[in-house]
């Protein structure tokens, strides 16, 4: 049976999606951790089905300034991966690549932008490969694009693209805690409703 709306997901399906998030984020976090040389803990992922405004509040509030790295995914699963990096994680990544933190995160140099996009690329690749293996699917990722701005404006992009047919957004929210508590950032997986059906079917919980 396929689900027509995100709200129709049952508890077992949500548990399975949480596990998908766990496996994906585990891989992505290992990639980040080995790049920046810091311990990274991940919390148990949350599977959220929320209306747009609640979704934005759940990830930090509309005017919070954050770096968003957007990676569209397609193939057997279509949708987006969105990394929401706090300013101190950006500083850490830039330090790793260039030996110093950027002066101003609103005017990153081309090289600094590329470093962040590359980090997003590696993490997104690790994330989707883990899911692809688990579900026996082929998932491709597109080139990452980054912006530093208000969270509400950044989250409006998946809200518009995923939410055209409804008023809710489904995302698997992974909180990363870097260096004990000092740096928190997020990665979100946002599959389209059709892809979600397909994924649940492959995992035997459709």
């Amino acid at each position: 049976m396929s689900i027509g709306k995100y709200e129709d997901l049952n508890d077992m399906q949500i548990d399975v999606l949480r596990e998908v998030g766990n496996i994906g984020s585990g891989n992505a976090t290992t990639a980040l951790s080995s790049m920046v040389g810091k311990m990274i803990d991940i919390e148990v992922p949350r599977v959220e089905v929320l209306d747009f405004n609640d979704a934005i509040n759940a990830v930090g509030g509309p005017e919070k300034v954050i770096a968003g790295i957007l990676i569209r995914i397609n193939g057997d699963i279509e949708g987006m991966i969105m990394f929401l990096f706090e300013q101190n994680l950006i500083a850490l990544i830039e330090e790793t690549f260039f030996g110093q933190a950027p002066k101003d995160i609103f005017s990153l140099s081309e090289a600094e932008n590329s470093a962040l996009n590359e980090m997003g690329n590696i993490m997104a690749g690790s994330y989707v490969n883990a899911i692809a293996q688990l579900a026996g699917m082929t998932i491709d990722i597109e080139v990452p694009v980054m912006t530093v701005d208000m969270l509400g404006a950044i989250m409006s992009v998946p809200a518009i693209e995923m939410g055209e047919m409804g008023d809710k957004l489904l995302f698997i929210d992974n909180n990363m805690i870097i260096d004990k508590t000092s740096i928190q950032s997020k990665m979100l997986l946002l599959p389209t409703i059709d892809s979600l059906d397909h994924l649940l079917e492959r995992l035997g919980v459709a």
């Binding site: 405004n53 005017e63 409006s156």
Partner: protein, 160 residues
């Protein structure tokens, strides 16, 4: 004392007098302030998408689309006593938040065009706009005066 009215995504509200209307972090969405200075009745709408006609799904809200949200809001303002002939509009938003090489469609630009077309049909002139480009905007709107302030992380604050 006026109230502070917060307008979420896919939402609109009408205030009057000392009320202040705020909508946060417009990305590709559009904030439309409509005011009638003769009565101090003002509305602010935050739409996400241009056109409701392509959407078959019945449970979706009219406040999400330019072509349904704005006429509904103007009708509410009129019912509260505002005079359509003296209404004016200020709009903001419609940014491209992520510069992708293979962007399927520029939703920000389509939103700008749809809001302008809807306001033209409603015969409400747009007297100021801050649209397009690539950054998010918060819109603060004083109901009585029609004054609007745009704030963004990149450009700071400015009057519209």
């Amino acid at each position: 004392m006026g109230q502070k009215l917060i307008i979420g995504i896919s939402d609109w509200k009408v205030g009057r007098g000392d009320d202040i209307l705020v909508t946060y972090a417009l990305g590709s969405c559009i904030g439309t302030c409509i005011y009638d200075r003769t009565t101090g009745i003002s509305g602010l709408s935050h739409i996400m998408l241009p056109d409701s006609t392509a959407i078959i799904d019945g449970h979706t809200t009219r406040m999400k689309f330019a072509d349904t949200a704005l006429p509904d809001m103007v009708e509410r303002m009129r019912a509260m006593g505002a005079n359509p002939a003296s209404m004016k509009a200020k709009i903001a938003g419609g940014a491209v938040m992520f510069q992708t090489t293979n962007s399927k469609f520029n939703i920000g630009q389509r939103n700008i065009e749809a809001v302008k077309e809807t306001l033209r049909k409603l015969r409400i002139p747009i007297i100021a706009e801050d649209t397009g480009l690539n950054y998010g905007r918060t819109m603060t709107f004083w109901a009585q005066s029609g004054d609007v302030e745009i704030s963004s992380t990149v450009m700071g604050k400015k009057k519209l």
